[in-house]
Amino acid sequence: MSSTATTTSTTAPARSRPAPAAGRNRPGAARARHRRLVATLFLGPAVVYLLLFYGYPVVQNVVMGFQHYTISTFFTGEAPWVGLDNYREVLGSPLFRTALLNTFLFTVGSIVGQFALGLGIALFFRRRFPLSGLLRSLILLPWLIPLIAASAVWKWLLDTESGAINRVLVGTGLVDTGVPWLSSTSLALGTVIAVNVWIGIPFNAVILHGGLQGIPDELYEAGALDGATRGRAFRHITWPMLRPVVTVVLVLGVVYTLKVLDIILGLTGGGPANATQTLATQSYQLSFTTFDFGQGAAVSNILIVISLVFAAVYLRLNRRAVDE
């Protein structure tokens, strides 16, 4: 750090001095070199970090996907090449199809729920009323607490025997015995989606609320003169104006939801009988419970591809829609 300070202090005065036309070449080159040095100093650590902690893992996952990379690899250092065996095995297993379908349902269900409820709340809080600021900031709480803490409380709320939700349902006579929210193969996925919707509402509500605040009031005033109020104002003013924000929320929402792991591991661990197994949890279990890192990498590579393809397709479609 001290060496840079000296370089900068020696070259800085040269800046303010008007360079003579003949000697421009040398100071110019020195200055360019100096500027490159400063840029490297500022940006270099971040680039190195991103390459080590994002670049290397991605490359390593691609490589591991073609290797028989297991727990013994850590002792022998050997990871024989197996070509496409990992992919063949993973894609051929019935569990993969379950996980793929669950990932799809989990993502679509979560996004639809989060977006619809988040938009509803954003629209509600667009109007200013007493305490609206305080209440709006409280919305963020579910999003800020650790996901695993949220999973813990939901697991207790949803407990079949003595969870609060079942106690209300049984107490009011709606059901005779506690509903096995998390332990029934037919209910677990829906329950996990509902919890994930709860976690995602704050993010959607806050971002969409920000987008709504950006729509100028004059548009609504002009619209009202033309008879556009409520539903029609929403369709013709709010929705088109909100579109860029909606794109951001949906793309980020899908990308984040595809990789959700905490909530599922915390609530069900992928069970019962793989009913809540997604590609992310399957990749985790292949790598860290069966210690087959090759297959785990194969599944996570498929997950990356899905994520990238979705983002590319959606952004392309959306751009076209906006252009029209």
Binding site: P45, Y49, I121, R127, S132, L140, G296
Partner: protein
């Protein structure tokens, strides 16, 4: 559009919405104050608050809370140190490859954490970084660094070039200008970036789960997970741990609300 006819009716409706949304968090606090969890039904109000759950939680998870705190603070320091100068370079230097770096950061947001964990496990095993605080700090900063770069860059782009030029004319080099002019002006962006890095790291579960194998270095999130893995017979201790793990989020929301709001929206408008 911004004012309503019957404001208090709206307030009442707003309170109902928030009450429903926050009920699980209320329940977490309520259950943490019950004398014992699963055997006796939790009452709806903690009329006879009992701190046994917290006593158990602190006895069993106290060390893990300290681990989480150390890792989170370390990650904040590392993330800001790496991200803030980078953000400044991306915002103010006219660099040819700045676009590529930004593109890389955006793509990085699509990389699932499990991909990073898959690869880091092997690398960490070789380097002896498993079960270590530095290992967790480095891995956990994968959330904070890209976020901090994006937040700070967005802010620093709005800095008028004249501010920095004035310092340069006064004889300061780009490093001095950055430290003595840009950093103080960017205070709010730095606080926002720091707060969120703290929350990301404090909440980290995936790296805690995959990059630690022993009890030595165990963040509190993993402590909660281990409670959930077995049959839970003392919910008040689990809920007390969850409350303790949620304290930073609650405190930040109360004392640093404007930064939290800035981060929540800023993160999306990349």
């Amino acid at each position: 559009m911004n004012t309503v006819r019957r404001p208090w009716l709206h307030t009442a409706a707003g309170i109902v919405v928030i009450a429903v949304l926050l009920f699980p968090i209320y329940w977490m606090v309520n259950a943490s104050l019950q004398p014992n969890g699963a055997t006796v039904d939790t009452t709806w109000l903690p009329l006879h608050p009992d701190l046994t759950g917290y006593r158990t939680a602190l006895a069993e998870q106290g060390g893990n809370l300290v681990t989480s705190l150390v890792v989170a603070l370390g990650s904040v320091a590392l993330s800001l140190l790496i991200a803030v100068p980078a953000a400044y370079a991306l915002a103010q230097f006219r660099l040819r490859w700045a676009g590529w770096v930004l593109f890389g950061i955006l793509i990085s947001q699509m990389i699932p954490g499990i991909v990073i964990a898959n690869a880091l496990y092997g690398a960490y095993a070789d380097l002896g970084l498993l079960n270590s605080i530095p290992g967790l700090i480095l891995a956990d900063s994968t959330a904070g660094i890209p976020f901090a770069i994006l937040i700070c860059r967005a802010f620093m782009q709005s800095l008028p070039p004249a501010v920095v030029e004035a310092a340069l004319v006064d004889g300061a080099g780009p490093v001095r200008a950055f430290v003595s002019v840009v950093l103080p002006i960017s205070r709010n962006a730095l606080i926002t970036a720091g707060l969120f890095t703290f929350l990301f790291t404090w909440s980290d579960f995936l790296f805690a789960l995959t990059l630690t194998t022993t009890e030595d270095v165990r963040p509190v999130t993993l402590g909660i997970y281990n409670y959930l893995g077995a049959y839970v017979n003392d919910w008040s201790a689990v809920m007390a741990t969850a409350v303790l793990a949620s304290v930073p989020a609650i405190v930040l929301l109360v004392v640093a609300q404007k930064y939290v709001a800035a981060g929540a929206t800023g993160g999306a408008v990349k």
